[in-house]
């Protein structure tokens, strides 16, 4: 479904991604693990067109998307839940969700089906329901994360990119979010690329994983293989509470 071929990405003078290649099959959950600054977020932003690759190719459903602008990429069916939520804090929960469906409104899709999807988000995250008129910035971090995921889902993506959904969240909220990711795959077959600090939880959820170190992929394999790998165990699974 998605292929990255020999991607190099530069952030100003920083060579953030060095020859990264990876692939996702339809319906898979794949996770990227690695330390801070390893380039995980850059991979997602390169796919989303926020920090375009300086060389290499990004292919989505066999189409070149390497140089497309972020909004075009969303239109093709890739939505990103960015690091740190990035909800529109001064807008209400409902408005945030509506903006998630911006392209569907633009293509004059039936309002009833958009409304239906919005209600579906409220069944996925019942906590948001009571807060639908509330400004997003006044909610807790966990609720904002739920909203950010809901907003991305409103675009009906084929591929969901998630950047550190558990960052700064209490364990209970964290479990709630992972429960929903699990449910998404089962009920909708959404393909997910997950960047996560909590490598143990991520590998538990994912089918496969890639390990990044300083902009390079140093290891890849099924989740089971990675969890048994001594290097991974030592470097990423040792302090699972961290």
């Amino acid at each position: 479904m998605l292929r990255l071929k020999n991607i190099h990405t530069h952030y100003g003078k920083v060579h953030a991604l060095k020859n990264v290649s990876l692939r996702l099959l339809e319906g898979e959950i794949v996770t990227l693990i690695g330390a801070n600054g390893a380039g995980k977020t850059t991979i997602l932003n390169t796919i989303s067109g926020v920090t375009p690759a300086s060389s290499g190719e990004v292919l989505f459903e066999n189409k070149q998307i390497t140089e497309l602008a972020p909004d075009r990429i969303v239109k093709l069916g890739i939505s990103q839940v960015p690091e740190g939520r990035q909800v529109f804090k001064q807008l209400s929960v409902e408005d945030n969700l509506d903006l998630g469906a911006y392209l569907r409104y633009r293509s004059r899709e039936d309002k009833a089906s958009i409304n239906e999807d919005r209600e579906h988000i409220f069944t996925l995250f019942p906590q948001l329901l009571n807060r639908r008129k509330q400004l997003a910035g006044t909610m807790s971090g966990g609720e904002q994360q739920m909203l950010a995921i809901g907003r991305a889902l409103m675009a009906k993506p084929k591929l969901l990119l998630l950047d550190e959904p558990s960052m700064g969240l209490a364990p209970l909220v964290f479990q709630e979010i992972f429960r929903v990711l699990h449910q998404l795959r089962h009920e909708h077959g959404t393909t997910i690329l997950l960047v996560e600090q909590n490598a143990k939880a991520a590998l538990k959820l994912a089918d496969r994983g890639y390990v990044l170190e300083t902009g390079k992929i140093i290891l890849e394999g099924s989740s089971v293989e990675l969890m048994d790998n001594t290097d991974v165990k030592r470097a990423y699974l040792g302090k699972e509470k961290g």
Partner: protein, 293 residues
């Protein structure tokens, strides 16, 4: 000081204030969508008045037809300005943008001077010049037009920004540009939109004020700065705060001119501008934002 006279100053202040508010909202809309202070905003105000005149005199159109034509052409020039001067910038640093908009403003003013000369012109009032008594004061029918049209535009503006998906998308760009791109909003298109809306609003302001104050190739400078002042008082809000800012400015100006000396009329706007920038740069009504991260 007689009450009647005071009322007179306040009433005429309100109508000039409404004009400043419209121009100020134009500044805010572009600023919020792009971070640019568009110093060419005043020129679109001028174009509104001068183009109405062109369509009236040279094309012999009736007023009701000349006005929409003038708005359309000013809006198109606002669009062109964004396309030719703003979008091609490779490194849109704030200082580059400021210089570009000032340059654009000088260019538009210069071309207008070549085209129309330096004379001051009048546009006929929309509906007669029979003064209307209000309390002990009098106002002109044009004042009512100004207040009515301003109210209408502000209401339409509010509806657009709060109740349409495109307006919400434009606000989203203002709040968080990157996230806006990530939900599929074409940010550059929204920038163009903001220029379209602002130049249209600016030209309307220029048209409705022209029967009272006359118009010339260089009216945009002063009107633009007054509008900017209104926007600064309002903390660059594209809603109520800037409207109030415009009204405050209009009334103070009119009171100052009436009670002190008409020579100080323009100085008042700049004193307020400086005071606000020194003391409350977040605007008169701005408050420190409370957000949970």
């Amino acid at each position: 000081m007689q009450f009647d006279q005071l009322l007179q100053y306040v009433l005429s202040g309100l109508s000039t204030g409404a004009i400043y508010a419209l121009i100020g909202i134009g500044f805010s809309i572009i600023y919020n969508a792009t971070g640019i202070i568009n110093f060419a905003q005043g020129e679109f105000v001028m174009l509104g008045g001068m183009l109405t005149l062109l369509f009236l005199d040279s094309c012999k159109l009736p007023l009701w037809a000349a006005i929409p034509c003038a708005i359309a052409v000013s809006t198109a020039s606002g669009m062109l300005f964004e396309r030719l001067a703003i979008r091609p910038l490779r490194q849109p640093t704030p200082i580059n943008l400021v210089i570009i908009t000032i340059g654009g403003s000088i260019l538009i003013r210069g071309l207008s001077m070549l085209l129309w000369g330096k004379d001051t012109h009048a546009i006929p009032p929309f509906s007669g010049e029979e003064p209307i008594a209000v309390g002990g004061a009098t106002i002109l029918p044009q004042h009512i037009w100004i207040l009515g049209i301003t109210l209408l535009i502000i209401a339409a503006n509010k509806f657009y920004f709060y109740h349409t998906i495109s307006g919400k998308a434009m606000r989203a760009c203002a709040y968080n540009r990157r996230a806006a791109g990530l939900v599929g909003i074409d940010v550059r298109r929204m920038v163009l939109f903001s220029f379209i809306i602002s130049s249209a609003m600016g030209s309307v302001a220029g048209i409705i004020v022209a029967p009272l104050t006359m118009t010339a190739y260089d009216v945009g400078v002063m009107l633009g700065l007054k509008g900017f002042c209104a926007a600064i008082i309002g903390g660059m809000s594209s809603g109520g705060a800037t409207v109030v800012g415009g009204l405050i400015l209009g009334i103070l100006e009119s009171l100052g001119a009436g009670l002190i000396s008409s020579g100080y009329k323009d100085a008042i706007a700049f004193i307020i501008l400086l005071l606000i920038l020194f003391i409350r740069p977040q605007g008169l009504f701005g408050k420190a934002q409370s957000e949970r991260v």
